[in-house]
């Protein structure tokens, strides 16, 4: 009841805000320059939230400009079996500096209608190119030279879950970690899309990827002026050309392998939105126990015929939105596994015991 009242009030205020915006725009010589004044103090996502806090009801009238600063840099990650794997990853620039590289890159969340600016500083030895399949980027070159910085801009029109990645190195840069999830939220909070059927209580990212150690090693090695990634051959023609060197040793949810993957905490009856992003190079298929999912959207597009599933394939490079409802009768401590049904459930080899993509929805 109170929520509905709130929405009505928001709509009224929105109308007033629209009028104000038009007047302000006329006074300042155009809407673009009006936006510019809001954009100036924004630095990244946290600043945007801050801006929203001051104008919580103006979103429909004046989408807040979002500025995201990222670095692309080399780093390492440690697998559960102790293996240290060189990676390339995106990391958010905070107060002018970037921390260690992350896989996947930070989850970027923007609102429908936001003018978005993403600036990437390339600290890697190779040229990279930022790409967001399904999002129309403003025209202009996207290549970022080593040591260089480039800004790309777009307006986020279509709610949904997306993959952002570097398309550099013939896709190999994404495979060694330069990829992450980008979410465009609809106007109504708590929904995957504008449609009411996509309402959720909790959301969780399910960014899937794999690690091919030979490829990551190539990224860490120097060939000429750059890395050895671009010249990596998936077949070794000097030794055995019949055996692919694309041999994933680790399969990850959100950059981590079981048992290092944190559970998703959800209460009985909760609708959990799983934002599946396959940032890897293999098709990924997950199954689940004790619950099932409803696939409501794919590739930033609401399905007209959503369907329920237990096991589902997510093609490499794809994104999908699924809602899992925790049974209302679930007791405290209940766990609902979601795991790789291709059963690559090891870290490195079977000698390590269970590993790979196993994650639980857990009732606290």
């Amino acid at each position: 009841m109170s929520a509905r009242t709130h929405r009505r009030r928001a709509a009224r205020v929105t109308l007033v805000a629209t009028a104000l915006a038009v007047i302000t725009g006329l006074l300042l010589g155009g809407l673009a320059s009006a936006r510019q004044t809001y954009e100036a103090p924004l630095v990244g996502h946290a600043a945007k939230r801050h801006a929203k806090k001051h104008h919580p009801k103006h979103r429909r009238a004046r989408a807040a400009a979002v500025t995201i600063d990222l670095c692309a840099k080399a780093g390492t990650t440690t697998m559960p079996d102790g293996a240290s794997i060189p990676i390339w990853g995106f990391v958010r620039k905070v107060a002018g500096s970037c921390g260690p590289a992350e896989i996947p890159g930070p989850a970027l969340e923007v609102d429908k209608g936001d003018p978005v600016s993403i600036t990437v500083e390339n600290q890697l030895p190779d040229e990279l190119a930022l790409d967001i399949p399904g999002i129309l980027l403003d025209a202009g070159p996207t290549d970022v030279q080593p040591g260089g910085t480039r800004e790309i801009t777009f307006t986020s029109n279509a709610p949904g879950t997306y993959l952002y990645e570097s398309s550099g190195g013939a896709g190999r840069q994404a495979e060694v970690g330069l990829a992450g999830a980008l979410v465009v939220k609809p106007l109504t909070p708590g929904r995957a899309y504008d449609d009411a059927s996509t309402a959720y209580d909790k959301q969780a990212y399910m960014v899937m990827s794999e690690i091919v150690p030979a490829l990551n090693a190539a990224a860490a090695n120097t060939c000429g002026t750059g890395s050895c990634l671009g010249s990596f051959n998936f077949y070794d023609y000097d030794s055995d050309p019949n055996v692919s060197r694309f041999q994933p040793a680790y399969r990850l949810f959100n950059g981590k392998a079981y048992p290092q993957i944190p559970s998703i905490s959800a209460a009985p009856g909760d609708k959990v939105l799983l934002r599946y992003v396959n940032a890897g190079s293999e098709q990924a298929t997950t199954t689940m126990l004790g619950v099932d999912g409803r696939l409501v959207g794919r590739s930033g597009s609401l399905l007209s015929a959503p369907f329920d599933f237990v096991a589902q394939t997510f093609p490499a490079g794809s994104a999908a939105d699924a809602i899992v409802t925790v049974p209302a009768s679930a007791a405290s401590g209940s766990r609902f596994p979601i795991y790789d049904r291709h059963l690559g459930l090891v870290n490195g080899s079977s000698a390590s015991g269970l590993g790979g993509q196993i994650r639980f929805i857990e009732v606290p």
């Binding site: 096991a311 080899s349 079977s350």
Partner: protein, 577 residues
């Protein structure tokens, strides 16, 4: 063997949980619940290439080892109880993807569910909720145990409607079929058999199965005694749609319990995709069916898909509605290994002629279509095609598989074989060389002087219809020296079998080879078409002339000899209009 099976069946009947009783030869075989006594144990599965792989599987506790495990059939709302006894060397369990509220009693806690220790027991209980097709499989070290075979199907039926797939009359079916996909890496199974380390990261599949068998074993009936551990066939055996006699579609329950996705490709008729993982497919706004037609569909690992199948023969090809292309003559067809499921006729319920010695497996003019994985490496047994993940759709005539009508059809009529021409000896090199005509053998003598000796003769078939087609010639004969020399090897002469072209008034050579004293049978000589130029007109109307010529040039007059061309058989075959 048969006796042993009978005894087992009897034992099963006594304890009430036996293996599927004597079932239909084709179609899904249920083990009826809602209480099941299963044992996880090891056994062998055979592949068509003669290999045997160790499998781990669920079997009914009182029954024989089987792979895949028994198909558990229950009604929605049933309280399902599954007692599992573990006869494997390591802890094991069962999980039921798609079911909610599964509780386990006994055993010890595992990652996904409670587990039974080796030699131990555990009981799972749940209320079957939504009708549909589900997987049940091991929840313990699944990368090993599921790959080893611990997986099968759970069927939940709408109460009161055993012949509906869902609680929805639009899913009523006539005939129910299981297509359970899996694959096997024999090296990993061998490692388990021999106590070697098992490493899923070395997985390399070699065998691909439907219902636990590889093609062509998939076509064998359910429960054949020579596949005692693999009781489930996967022939999809139906009749065509008919508004009164066969209104309902068949239901095809497809499951993938393997580790890889499989692109399943049904020929013959598209399948109507009605549900995934036991959940009907509905449109969001209207709630109406959002079913789609499929002739190729990825079946994700661990998923199930339900399809309805009506064979509608939309083109209605029948003798009165012939195939709208020129149908190749049966004699222009070849069949791999001289073996086929083709009836010789494109019309359902009829058979036609096939070239000798081709054998047809088609007894009543049924239609056969392959259903297979379109990943062609999976359409093989250890890389040898055609095998693996494949079965057949068999469509019988609506009236059943009775005595078929023999149907000959335009383009492949009954052929006429003629073996009694009228021989006419001719003269070569201006020399007289006539010999006896007629009889059982035609002997024509060559000219008798010079170093080059030659014989030419022909025979005439009369009464060949002007529109006869697919003319084919055969000739059997030999060439010997004359007189007391006739038994000696002599190197023979260069023999040409030929046919007279009435349009150009010239011989057309069909076959040339050296033939001496041993008879050579030359068959299936096909003159270049059109055949009308070999069939005489006017005063020679209906005449076909087949000739034989043979020439030998000797090295000197002294060594030259006269010879005889002896024809034992001259034959033409043609298709009458």
């Amino acid at each position: 063997m048969r006796l042993a099976v009978a005894c087992l069946a009897l034992l099963g009947a006594l304890v009430g949980v036996g293996p599927a009783a004597a079932a239909d030869p084709a179609g899904l075989v249920c083990s009826d619940g809602p209480t099941f006594n299963l044992t996880a144990r090891a056994g062998g599965m055979e592949t068509p290439d003669g290999n045997t792989n160790l499998m781990w599987s669920y079997s009914t506790t009182a029954g024989h080892f089987q792979t895949p495990g028994p198909v558990l059939c229950v009604d929605a709302g049933d309280t399902v109880t599954v007692h599992l006894r573990n006869e494997l060397p390591e802890a094991t369990s069962i999980v039921f993807p798609g079911q909610t509220g599964v509780s386990a009693t006994g055993g010890t806690s595992g990652l996904f569910t409670k587990e039974a220790a080796p030699g131990g027991d555990i009981t799972y209980t749940f209320t079957a909720n939504t009708p549909g097709t589900y997987v049940y499989e091991s929840g313990t070290d699944p990368a090993k145990q599921v790959e080893m075979g611990l997986a099968s199907a759970l069927v939940v039926r709408p109460p009161g409607h055993a012949d509906w797939a869902y609680a929805d009359s639009s899913t009523a079916f006539n005939g129910e079929f299981l297509v359970l996909l899996n694959e096997i890496d024999p090296e990993l199974h061998s490692a388990v058999e021999n106590g070697q380390p098992y490493d899923i990261s070395t997985l390399h599949n070699r065998y691909y199965t439907i219902n636990g068998r590889s093609f062509p074993d998939t076509l064998q009936d359910n429960g054949v005694p020579w596949l005692e551990n693999q009781p489930y066939g996967s022939l999809v055996h139906i009749k065509p749609y008919d508004a009164t006699l066969n209104k309902r579609p068949a239901l095809v329950r497809v499951l993938n319990v393997g580790l890889a996705n499989h692109p399943f490709h049904p020929h013959g008729e598209s399948l109507q995709f009605i549900a995934q993982d036991g959940r009907q497919i509905k449109a969001r706004t209207t709630g109406n069916d959002a079913v789609t037609e499929h002739f190729g569909e990825t079946v994700p690992s661990g998923s199930t898909q339900d399809f309805l199948l009506s064979f509608r023969d939309q083109d209605s090809f029948a003798p009165g509605n012939p195939v709208p292309v020129t149908f190749p003559s049966y004699r222009d067809m070849t069949f791999k290994d001289n073996n086929t499921w083709y009836s010789g006729s494109p019309y359902l319920g009829t058979v036609g002629k096939l070239p000798s010695p081709t054998v047809s497996q088609n007894v009543c003019g049924a239609f056969f279509f392959p259903w297979h994985s379109h990943a062609l490496n999976e359409f093989a047994n250890y890389d040898v095609a055609f095998g693996g993940m494949a079965t057949l759709l068999r469509v019988d005539p609506l009236t059943g598989c009775g005595t078929p009508g023999l149907q000959t059809y335009t383009g492949s009529p009954a052929s006429v074989t003629r073996t009694s021409p009228t021989p006419v000896a001719t003269v070569s090199n201006g020399q007289q060389g006539l010999a006896a005509l007629g009889g059982t053998r035609t002997d024509v003598t060559s000219n008798t002087s010079g170093t080059t000796r030659r014989v030419e003769w022909y025979a005439t078939f009369t009464g060949v219809p002007a529109a006869g087609v697919n003319l084919k010639v055969a000739y059997s004969g030999y060439n010997r020296l004359t007189g007391f020399l006739s038994g000696l090897p002599w190197g023979g002469c260069t023999q040409t079998v030929r046919i007279w072209n009435w349009t150009t008034s010239a011989w057309v050579n069909l076959n040339t080879q050296t033939v001496q004293r041993t008879q050579v049978d030359i068959a299936d000589l096909l003159p270049a078409g059109p055949d009308t130029k070999y069939i005489g007109t006017g005063g020679n109307g209906g005449e076909v002339r087949v000739g034989v010529a043979c020439t030998r040039t000797f090295s000197s007059s002294f060594l030259s000899a006269t010879f005889v061309s002896s024809g034992d058989l001259m034959q033409i075959t043609y298709d009458a209009p």
